[in-house]
Subunit: 238 residues, 2 copies
């Protein structure tokens, strides 16, 4: 049984989250501002994840996260009312592991919570087993093992078709670099590209469906408008 601390000054939201996550079998602790959250974290050594609103009276979510992170390595998911740029807000805040914008889709909430819990509880062992090099490529919590042809995202294995696998492998091997549709086609199919736009788009969509929690706000497989696609380089965090 995992314990999740939910922190939001809006009691309706806390209640809703409690219902959604309760059904999933999680045990919920509640706080209504940052100060309360800090006290609860201090007194409960066994909290597995924190859901933290950004906008709160007394102590805002980002400061709260930073204070908690001084002492503990608990995963934190930030909640924010504004549907602002996912990347920007997430980037502002070193403390958070993930980010959800309100109003949120319950299924997405559950998926992100499960993903972080999985990551926190199992991932260490998986990541340890695999070393970059030796046909293993990674970006953040996306790991490709070309020996076993396995793709693991946030601790969970994902099944790709051969073409999907080849595209993802190519982009992850060269993470951070943007490739045009033509370049992707020619590298993966090893032949000239003609009207390849759509065929790549369809495969990209299928890959996103499998590796991204929310394919509309991809974390790994990003489009650079007018140029092409890349796998975000989520490794070297300084």
């Amino acid at each position: 049984m995992y314990n999740i601390l939910v922190v939001d000054d809006d009691k309706e939201i806390v209640k809703a989250v409690e219902i959604y996550l309760g059904k999933e079998g999680y045990n919920i602790l509640k706080a209504y501002n940052g100060v309360e959250a800090l006290k609860i974290v201090e007194n409960n050594p066994d909290i597995h994840l924190i859901l933290l609103d950004v906008m709160m009276p007394k102590l805002d979510g980002i400061s709260t996260a930073n204070l908690i992170r001084k002492n503990k390595a608990i995963p934190i998911i930030m909640l924010s009312a504004k549907s602002e740029d996912y990347d920007k807000i997430a980037g502002l805040n070193n403390g958070a592991d993930d980010y959800i914008t309100k109003p949120f889709n319950p299924l997405e909430l559950i998926a992100r919570v499960n993903s972080q819990i999985r990551r926190y509880t199992h991932l260490g062992s998986i990541a340890d087993k695999m070393q970059e090099g030796d046909g293993v490529y990674s970006s953040g919590d996306l790991i490709i093992n070309d020996n076993t042809k396995q793709v693991i995202v946030e601790g969970k294995e994902v099944k790709l078709t051969p073409t999907e696998y080849n595209i993802l492998k190519f982009l992850t091997k060269n993470k951070g670099i943007v490739y045009s549709i033509e370049q992707i086609y020619e590298n993966v199919w090893e032949e000239e590209s003609y009207g390849a736009e759509n065929i790549i788009a369809v495969h990209i969509r299928h890959i996103r469906e499998k590796i991204e929690i929310n394919p509309k706000e991809p974390k790994y497989l990003k489009v650079i408008w007018g140029i092409g696609y890349k796998i975000e380089n989520l490794n070297e965090k300084n």
Copy 2:
């Protein structure tokens, strides 16, 4: 006499399972939701196996399994109505030892129950006798002893032909790694491969018939579509 707890909110299914397993000589205990199941497990120290429906009111099967597993190491077989992706559902749930999709074939039900009971009651001793290394290769409850040329699956010896044995040995020695049909042919026959597709496919089928409970949903010998075959690495579970 072994005691099996059957948990499903559909009383028809509980009754049917009782009939099938009763004929096999098992003693059946019944529960109709997760909460009832927990009470029975608490009050009966001598339950040897649990059959647990995934979709149930009050407390779902996966949560129930996790709660039971906190205190006991009883084998659990999950039942699910949807014929969804076996791997996905099984992966979601660390607590379960096996998985059956409804509607199920009575023979498969019996085979899986017998297999788990055998495993639970005898396997410790077999696995102890054999040590990896010394020509002994294994994955989960599949054990190959190359000294005695024996293949043991879930506590039961299985007879393979020489070619079948060589293919299985090659894949199990290198479990987790995916080999193309050509690679398998060249490693096992030690000669160039031409149109080897079908010959391998036929042997694979024969091996599956012998080592898998349900060859259509193989647990050990898996295909990676478009790439090849592998023996799933079922050992290192953390």
